[in-house]
C-alpha cells in the first residue's frame, strides 16, 4: 500500500481543519476550534484501481501567535496551501508562508486552495488575481468545506499528481 504525507498549510482560521474534516469525515462544523501543533488524519482513496493512503498533517495556522515548524514538513509528498477567499490578507499570508518554507517544500507539488467559496457575497479574490497566480504556476482550486464543493476534487487532484511518474 502506498502511503503519502500531505500537509495543510496556511494562516489561521482559513479552514484547513474543516477541509480535512469534510474530506475524511464528511461533515462540517461552524464552530471554530483552533489547531495547536499538528493534527493527524488519514484517508485511503482508490485512484483508478490504485489504493493510496493519504496521511494528512493539519498544521497550526501561521500567524503572530504561532509559526509552522519546518520540521513538520519532512517527508511531505504534497501540500494544500489554503487561503480564505473572503479575506485577501490570508492569500498573501499563505504565499508568504510558502516562501518562508521554500527550502522544505522544494520540489514538493502543491495546490492553492481558496476556501469558503460558499460565502459569495463577501468573496474578495478577483478573477484577475487567480489568473496571475495560475500564470505563476499555481494550480488553484475554489472549495467550500461547508458545502463540500471542490473539496474531494482538490485533494484528489493532488493525489494524482503524487502518483504520476
Amino acid at each position: 500500500m502506498i502511503k503519502k504525507k500531505i500537509c495543510m498549510l496556511g494562516t489561521s482560521a482559513v479552514g484547513k481543519t474543516s477541509l480535512v474534516r469534510r474530506y475524511v469525515q464528511g461533515f462540517f462544523s461552524e464552530q471554530y476550534l483552533t489547531t495547536i501543533g499538528v493534527k493527524i488524519d488519514k484517508k485511503t482513496v482508490d485512484l483508478d484501481g490504485q489504493a493510496l493512503t493519504l496521511v494528512l498533517w493539519d498544521l497550526n495556522g501561521e500567524d503572530p501567535f504561532q509559526r509552522v515548524a519546518a520540521s513538520y514538513l519532512r517527508g511531505a509528498a504534497g501540500f494544500l496551501l489554503v487561503a480564505d477567499g473572503t479575506r485577501r490578507l490570508t492569500l498573501e499570508g499563505a504565499l508568504r508562508l510558502h516562501e518562508r518554507l521554500h527550502d522544505a517544500l522544494e520540489g514538493v507539488p502543491g495546490v492553492l486552495v481558496l476556501n469558503k467559496a460558499d460565502l459569495t457575497a463577501s468573496w474578495a479574490i478577483e478573477p484577475a488575481r487567480i489568473e496571475a497566480l495560475q500564470r505563476e504556476g499555481w494550480t488553484v482550486r475554489r472549495t467550500s468545506a461547508k458545502t463540500g464543493m471542490g473539496v474531494e476534487e482538490a485533494f484528489e487532484h493532488l493525489a494524482r499528481r503524487l502518483l504520476a511518474p
Binding site: 471554530y32 496521511v55 520540521s71 479575506r87 457575497a121 463577501s122 468573496w123
Partner: protein
C-alpha cells in the same frame, strides 16, 4: 526538616501518576515499556501488542515521524531534551488524544516520554484562539473598508453626471433670466424639468444607498406581519408601473402587466417592496431595446407569491450571473451603475424570508424574480 531520600521506585510512580509512558528504544527499532502501560497508549496498540516490545512507529503516524528526529538526537549526544510539541491523533477506536513526546538522554541511556502536554493545552488553545478570532474580525473590517472605498468612488462618480446636468440647466436659466440669452417661457420650463429630473436621479441614488446599508442593520428586525398589515404585491406593481410609464414611452416600450384579479398580500412593507420593484423595472427599461416589450407580473401560490420582471434585452452573460446580487463586486465598477440596486433587492427579500433570482428569459432577454412568503395569520 529534612525528609529521608525517596526510594528509586518513586520516580516511576510519579510518572505513572502523570499517565506518562516511559519507553526505552531497542536496537531493532522497537521500544521497551518501563513500568505501567497507560490507557491511552493501549488504545493505539493492536491487542496482540500488549506484552512484548512495542512498535511505536506502527502505532502512531506522528511518532513515526518524530522518532526520526529523536534517533538523530540520541545519536548526537546533544544536551537537553527534544520536545515534539503537542499533537492530536485518533486511536484505533476513533477517539482523539492530544499528546506530547519528549526524547532525553539520562546517564547515556536514551529515553522517550510520551503523555499529555504539561502546558495547559486547553487554556493555551483558548488564548490563541481568542487572538485569532480578533484577527479574523480585523481582516473582515479591512475588507469592508476597501469595499466601501470603491463604493464611495462609484457613488461620487454616479452623482457627478446628474449634478453636472442640474448645474447646466441652472446656468442656462440664469443666463436667460439675466438677459444674456433670450429664453422663452416654454424653454425655461423645459430647463426646470430637466433640472428636476437630474435632482430626482440623485435622490433615488441616495435613497438606494441608504436603504442598502440600512438593510444590513435591519436584517435583525423581524418582519413577520399580520395579514392586515401585509402589502398587496399587485397594488405595488400597478403603482410602480404607473410611475415609470413616461420613461417607458421615451423608448417606445410596451409594459405588459400581468396580475391576478384579487390582492396578493405578501410579507414585507410596501415602501421597500416598491423600491425593490422600482429597481428591477428601471433595470429592465434600461436594457430593453427600443420598441420591445417589458413584462411585469405577480403569480400567487398557496404559501408564497412571485413577482417577476422580464425584458427582451441582451440578458446577463453567464459569467456575470453569479455576482449579480452581490454588493458591489470589485472590478465591476462600471460608471453609471453603482451596482447596489440588486444587492438591496436581495437583502430585502432575504430579510423577509424570501428569495431573489435571475434566469435567462426563454426566447432571449432577462428574467428577474422575487419570491416572497405569504403572511400567516397568528
Amino acid at each position: 526538616m529534612d525528609h529521608p531520600p525517596l526510594p528509586a521506585s518513586w520516580s516511576e510512580r510519579v510518572l505513572a501518576a502523570l499517565d506518562y509512558a516511559v519507553l526505552e528504544p531497542r536496537p531493532d527499532g522497537t521500544f521497551r515499556l518501563c513500568g505501567r502501560m497507560p490507557d491511552w497508549l493501549r488504545a493505539f496498540l493492536p491487542d496482540s501488542a500488549a506484552a512484548g516490545p512495542l512498535d511505536l512507529a506502527a502505532a502512531s503516524l506522528f511518532l513515526e515521524h518524530f522518532l526520526v528526529d529523536a534517533r538523530a538526537f540520541w545519536a548526537s549526544g546533544a544536551p537537553g531534551p527534544l520536545g515534539s510539541g503537542p499533537w492530536t491523533e485518533t486511536d484505533r477506536r476513533g477517539r482523539e488524544w492530544v499528546l506530547e513526546a519528549t526524547a532525553l538522554s539520562v546517564d547515556g541511556r536514551a529515553l522517550l516520554l510520551v503523555g499529555f502536554p504539561q502546558v495547559d493545552f486547553h487554556r493555551t488553545q483558548q488564548l490563541v484562539q481568542a487572538a485569532r478570532v480578533q484577527a479574523v474580525q480585523y481582516h473582515r473590517t479591512l475588507e469592508e473598508i476597501a469595499r466601501r472605498d470603491v463604493l464611495l468612488h462609484c457613488i461620487v462618480h454616479d452623482l457627478k453626471n446628474p449634478l453636472a446636468g442640474l448645474k447646466g440647466s441652472l446656468d442656462l436659466l440664469r443666463a436667460g433670466l439675466e438677459g444674456e440669452t433670450r429664453l422663452q417661457e416654454p424653454a425655461a420650463l423645459e430647463l426646470v424639468a430637466i433640472g428636476l429630473r437630474q435632482a430626482e436621479k440623485m435622490q433615488a441614488l441616495i435613497e438606494t444607498i441608504q436603504e442598502a446599508f440600512a438593510g444590513e442593520i435591519d436584517g435583525l428586525v423581524p418582519s413577520a406581519q399580520s395579514p392586515e398589515q401585509a402589502p398587496d404585491a399587485a397594488a405595488v406593481v400597478r403603482d410602480v408601473v404607473a410611475g415609470l410609464l413616461p420613461e417607458a414611452r421615451l423608448k417606445a416600450l410596451t409594459v405588459d402587466t400581468r396580475l391576478p384579479p384579487g390582492p396578493v398580500p405578501v410579507v414585507g412593507d410596501a415602501a421597500r417592496l416598491e423600491r425593490m420593484l422600482y429597481n428591477l423595472l428601471t433595470n429592465a427599461l434600461r436594457f430593453a431595446p427600443a420598441g420591445s416589450t417589458v413584462t411585469v407580473g405577480v403569480r400567487g401560490e398557496a404559501e408564497a407569491a412571485t413577482l417577476y420582471v422580464e425584458d427582451e434585452g441582451p440578458g446577463v452573460p453567464p459569467e456575470q450571473q453569479p455576482r449579480l446580487f452581490r454588493k458591489f463586486a470589485r472590478g465591476n465598477e462600471q460608471p453609471g451603475h453603482v451596482g447596489l440596486g440588486l444587492y438591496f433587492c436581495r437583502i430585502t427579500a432575504e430579510n423577509w424570508g424570501g428569495q431573489i433570482g435571475y434566469e435567462d428569459r426563454p426566447g432571449g432577454g432577462a428574467r428577474f424574480w422575487v419570491r416572497l412568503p405569504r403572511p400567516t395569520p397568528r
